[in-house]
């Protein structure tokens, strides 16, 4: 079946089984391997992508469900200002260790800052609580998101 959707700001048509998991379509059919698989039950967040502005675990979504929708993966993040700022803040503030959770973390953080440019610490923690990280102890990631938030604020003041 042909599925039409927007992927990283480009319109695409994918000919695949509609019951395939979105994460498999992204990784295998589209060869975008930045989206990771850690648990396949919606618990780790490594497979997080953004669909119509919402952070979603792509291991629990079927590709048929994204017909007509707007899907953003880590590969499309550098093209967006919030994405670039987040990436820079992650790099500079020690938010990356093994990096396996990183794409998912960035996608969740992007969805949050895209909706709410001034989240409180609690709001950040809540929005990020579906993403597991075994390496960083979360504190450096939290600091990075707060830094990104501050940079966004100064940008919007200019």
């Amino acid at each position: 079946m042909k599925i039409d959707f927007t992927l990283n700001n480009k319109h695409i048509t994918l000919d695949t089984e509609p019951t395939k998991r979105l994460v498999d379509a992204i990784r295998d059919d589209l060869s975008l391997t930045g989206t990771k698989i850690g648990c396949e039950v919606g618990e780790c967040g490594a497979c997080t992508v953004v669909i119509d502005g919402e952070a979603v675990t792509s291991c629990l979504v079927l590709v048929g469900q994204v017909q007509g929708k707007n899907v953003l993966t880590i590969e499309g993040l550098s093209e967006l200002e919030i994405g670039r700022i987040l990436q820079k803040c992650f790099v500079e503030n020690g938010a990356v260790q093994c990096g396996f959770c990183t794409p998912g973390m960035l996608m969740s953080a992007y969805a949050l800052l895209n909706k709410n440019q001034n989240p409180s610490k609690e709001e950040i923690k809540e929005a990020m609580s579906g993403n597991l990280c075994r390496c960083t102890g979360y504190v450096p990631i939290l600091n990075s998101i707060e830094k990104a938030k501050d940079e966004l604020k100064t940008l919007s003041k200019k």
Partner: protein, 774 residues
Amino acid sequence: MIDKTWTIGHDTVRVDAWAKVRGEAKYGDDLRLDRPLFLKAVYAEYAHAKLIKIHKEDALKVDGVVGVFDTNDVPKEKMIGELFVDQYVFVDDKTRYFGDVICVVAGESQAIADEASKLIKVDYEPLPVLTDPRTAIGNEQVINKNYKDNVCGDIHAIKGDIEEELNNSDIIVEDKFETDFVEHAYIEPECVVVEPSLMRDELTIYGSLQAPYNLRISVSRMTGIPESQIIIKPSNIGGSFGGKIETAEAMACRAAIVANITKRNVHYKLTREESIRESYKRHPIYFDMKLGADKDGKIKGLKVDSINDAGAYINMSVGVAYKTATLGPGPYKMNALDYDAKAVLTNNSHTGSMRGFGTPQAIFAMENLMDELAEKVNVSPYEIRKRNILHDNDITPCGHKLDFINVSIGECMEKCAKEIDYESKYKEFKEYNKTHKKKKGLGIALAMRGGSIGADGNGFDVSRCLIEIEPDASVHFNIGLVELGQGLRTTQAMMCAEGLGCSLDRVTIGETDTSRSPVTGACIASRGTMLGGGAIKDACDKIHDIIKVALEKVNDEEIDNIIFENEKVTFNGKTISFEEAVKKCYSINMTPMAVGTYQVPKTNWVPYRGGMTGEPFYTYTFSCAMAEVEVDTDTGFTEVIKMVDAVDMGRAINPIMAKGQIYGGMVMGQGMGLTEDLAHNKKDGTLKNLNFDNYILPTFSDVPDENVAILNEHPDGRSAFGGHSLGEPGTETSASAIACAVNMALGKAGCIKTLPYDLDKVYFACRNLEKEGF
């Protein structure tokens, strides 16, 4: 403050950070080789059973199945193992735990292999299952016929005369403690990819491989292919914590066998359930402790009998017992020690290296015992530790005189206490708890960690690297110590620039590749900075000698003293640039390239009274963690309010990553302390919690944002660039600090004796305390 150089001591962006935030860094499962075969394992249905027959016919009929491979397809040696070769990659005569692999199905797609694997039927003859190491000792059921009593290791650390010290003690504290299995829970499940060469009998192996040189030996032993033709190129690794050694190695051996037979690329990954089922764990350890002290609470002697559950294969269990026995007594002064650590085979998941390696469990037991001692002496946990900690020139519990290092444990403690405001909170909480149902606690845990492998590895604790300066004065640097996420490659590149005397921009650190990097020990035992640093220093010194000789020839003068520092080379009163020095070297066709080797000097660890005594390690890292918790005595829920961890890692080469090790380590300990439980079935040896829906890791919301990582630096003269172990110290104390804090909240030192302190356990402890009028 420690002086920074032009490289060391500056927060430096990791070499792989940008590739990782862009999603471009490739991990094993991201590799896309040409038309690979996909593997699926069939696991043992019984933890202990004779294997009678494998029925493969139905699976082989499935379209797209290329073969089903089992132990009969292994051409040479059938077992692997780093120190003890006892782990079958395919079940041979009998299954030994429920993660054993009977066979693998190879299919043209993962779906085909998965489906076909369900059609394999296996006949077994079940055997009695041993799941408790205490009763496994001397049991008539023998897991491995080379160990008739199931005891596969026994390490006994001794100092002084324990009986005499205990007899002369005013206070005796006795107790028993236990810990459970802990999963590494790297977020990336294991994946290996094998590419056979069509030019010759050669295999290239990629994926989540923490110990490439050990793997090379195993594959060579199994296939008969020489080590030079087995090329290991670890991919980016999504976390390991000691966990991607033997399991990944067994997988790589299976995949290598299939690739070698079929001459096809092979892609073999585990699901999370398979990963938890098959992979080895942190050891459960049982402790029986007795401590004697004088009336002021000064320790006179400590006697411990401990038993670790090695599970089905020995793996690292003997090394783990070594660290339990030698480091378990902590950084405390005592006249006598008698610490026995046994490793015992069972039919449980095998247990191996996991960040801490036998110490987080021992620290949990020891620190609880210290709190019980404090209670008896009627002083605070802080005070009892202050009275007992080691200082400069003191002798450790094992008998090592600390006259070569800053014994900074007291400083670590003071810094933590200040950060968490210990003194006033301790008093405040004691009062507060009298009248509140939600109770507050503070906990302290101290540790002293031996650098690298220790005397256990006397003679083979070696590392090597290769440094080559190119004609344009850029530097290519290869080392076989693997990046696991900890930031090792950035640290190594910084030390390389420091050692050579050039800027960091010049240095490119190649991905680990056993055909490019000289053989080196594995990236284990928190040895990367010290061992890698030693090899780097050696290579740099050799290169400096080459350049010196070249300059002597070119300039026709003798040089006694030459200094390479921050892009400048100074000799005989002149200074030239680094680049010019390199060009001069090449101008007469001398090659500024060298292999560096470093071996940890042997230490004096000698037999004594039926055990061993002396210097179990070459050097030490001191650390202290403190935790503040709030316990809801109605529900049993523990909230961690704040954790502080001060570690003396000698020198923080890259401070931002050094802190990262501590932040991450604290939270890993939090999971071990409070929530992580694999639901081990004591009847059949299985584990029930095989995914993150039931195996509960700390999330963003569970972790205090007030956590503080303190770098308490004192450069270590025994390490080339001053840095020593950090990865494990960062995690070994926090579970214990939390446990001690919970027990303080409950008003009784050593109250809960088994880890983890999960909801149920704390709830029932509260109900029991109520009966005692709490």
